[in-house]
Symmetry: C2
Subunit: 229 residues, 2 copies
DNA sequence: CAACCAAAAAATGTTGACATTTTTGGTCTT
DNA sequence: AAGACCAAAAATGTCAACATTTTTTGGTTG
C-alpha cells in the first residue's frame, strides 16, 4: 500500500496502531474510494491480522473523521461532499484563526525561526522552478508549526488529528484544488510578520483571510463544476 | 451507576455503545476519579462483559477526549488541570463564536422559537426561585439549540461530542464554578436578539463575550485557589 | 414479470483463551 | 538500609471460534 502521505504519528508499537496508519494513508490517497465499505472480514484477510485490532483501528479512524461507522452495518469511508468540505474549512477558519492569535502571544523565537526557514525554502523552490504552486507538504509544515506554536493542545489536536486528515484527503484527491497559489507565499510572510510583531489581532485577521480565500477558491470550483463543464 | 447526566445519544443497540454511555456518565460525574486507571480486566468483570466491547468503548471515549490511552499501559481518565480547562474554553470560544454567526444566518424561525422557550423557562425558574443560577441542564439546552442552528455538522460534532463532555465533567465536579451567573440570562437574551436580527457579527461578539466571561470567572477561581485559600 | 418470502450466506458483535509486555514483590548483594 | 536483579503475577494485545444480525439469493406466488 502507498504510504508516503505522512509517517509521523506515534501510533506504532501495536498492530492496531500500525493498521491505523496504513488505513489512514490508504483513505487519504483514495486507495479506498470515498463512500466505499470497509469490510472487516475482507480487510483482516488482506492485511493478515485478526479482526480485533482492525476494529480498534476503525474506531480510531472514526475519531479522525475519516470513517463513518454505523452499528450492525459496518464502516464506510467518508464522502467529501461539497457541503462537507466547506464545513471543514469553516471549522478550520474558526480554530486556526484562534491558533494564530495565540501563536502571536506564545510562540518562541526558535519556532518563529522555523517558520522563516520553511518560507525561505518555499521561496527558493518557487524561484528555482518558476512554479506557481508551493508543494502541499511544505504548506502543511508551515501551518503545523504555527498550530503547535499556539501552545493549546486542545486546538492542536482538533486541527492536526481531526481536521487536517480530511483536508489532506481532499487536497490529495483534488490536486487541482490546491491551496497553494502564487499568493500563498506572500500571505505566509504576512502571517509571520504579525507573529513577529506579537500582534494577535493582526495575526488573526491575516490567517483568517488566508483560509477564507482558500475556502472561496474551493467554493468557486464547486460551482464551476455544477453549471459549467 | 449514576447516569442522569445525559441519556440522549444514539450509541445504543450494541454492548459497546451501552458501555460507552455508562462509562461516559461515570467519568463526567467523577465516579471514576480524574487520572485514575481504567483496568480492562476489572471493569469487564464489574460490568459483566468481555474485554472486546469494553476496549471499543474506551476508544470511543478517547475520541470524546474523556480518556487518555497509552499503548501497553492502559487507559486513564483525563485530568482537568487548570491549563487544560482554560484551553478547552479557548477552543469553545473559537468554535461557538463561529457557530453563533452561522446560526444568525442559518437558523430557522422554529429554532429561534425554541431558544425563546428555553430562556422563558429559565426566566420563570429564576423568578420563582429567586435563584441566581440557571440550572446547568437548561444552559446546555440553550447552547445545543444554537449549535445545531448553525447547520455545520463539523462544528456541531466538535462541540457536542468532543468539547461539551469535558465542559460537563468540569462543571459537574466543580459545581461552584457554575457558568450560570445572574448575568447569563441577560446574555442569552442578547444572543437571541442578534440572531433574530440575522446579524452574524453581533451574534459573534455577543457569544464570544459570554464565553470569555465564563472563562475569566474560571481563571479567577483557579488563581484564588493558588495564592489565597 | 414483479413482488414477496424463506433459507442460505456473509457480515458484524461478542466471547474466552492465548501471547506478550508491564508491574509487583521479594531476595540477594553492596 | 538502599538498590539491583529475578521470578511471579497481573495487565494489555491478539487471535480464533461462536452468536446474532443483516444481506443475498433463489424460488414461489399473485
Amino acid at each position: 500500500m502507498n504510504s508516503n502521505v505522512e509517517t509521523t504519528s506515534g501510533l506504532s508499537g501495536t498492530i492496531s496502531g500500525e493498521i491505523t496508519e496504513t488505513l489512514r494513508d490508504a483513505i487519504i490517497t483514495g486507495e479506498f474510494p470515498q463512500g466505499s465499505k470497509l469490510s472487516e472480514t475482507k480487510l483482516a484477510k488482506d492485511l493478515d491480522i485478526s479482526r480485533g485490532p482492525l476494529r480498534e483501528a476503525i474506531r480510531k479512524l472514526e475519531g479522525m473523521n475519516l470513517i463513518q461507522h454505523i452499528p450492525q452495518q459496518g464502516a464506510r469511508v467518508v464522502t467529501l461532499s461539497p457541503k462537507f468540505v466547506l464545513e471543514i474549512y469553516e471549522t478550520r477558519e474558526a480554530l486556526e484563526t484562534k491558533a494564530a492569535s495565540l501563536a502571536a502571544l506564545n510562540m518562541s523565537s526558535g519556532e518563529i525561526d522555523q517558520l522563516h526557514r520553511v518560507i525561505d525554502a518555499q521561496s527558493k523552490f518557487m524561484h528555482d522552478n518558476s512554479n506557481a504552486h508551493i508543494p502541499a507538504e511544505s504548506d502543511y509544515v508551515f501551518h503545523e508549526i504555527l498550530i503547535r506554536g499556539a501552545k493549546n493542545n486542545v486546538i492542536k489536536n482538533a486541527l492536526l488529528h481531526r481536521l487536517y486528515p480530511l483536508i489532506k484527503m481532499f487536497r490529495y484527491q483534488n490536486s487541482k484544488a490546491s491551496n497553494s497559489t502564487s499568493n500563498s507565499l506572500l500571505e505566509h510572510r504576512q502571517i509571520i510578520y504579525a507573529i513577529e510583531q506579537r500582534d494577535p489581532e493582526l495575526a488573526a485577521v491575516t490567517i483568517k483571510r488566508h483560509i477564507v480565500r482558500a475556502r472561496n477558491r474551493i467554493e468557486r470550483r464547486f460551482n464551476e463544476n455544477i453549471d459549467g463543464d
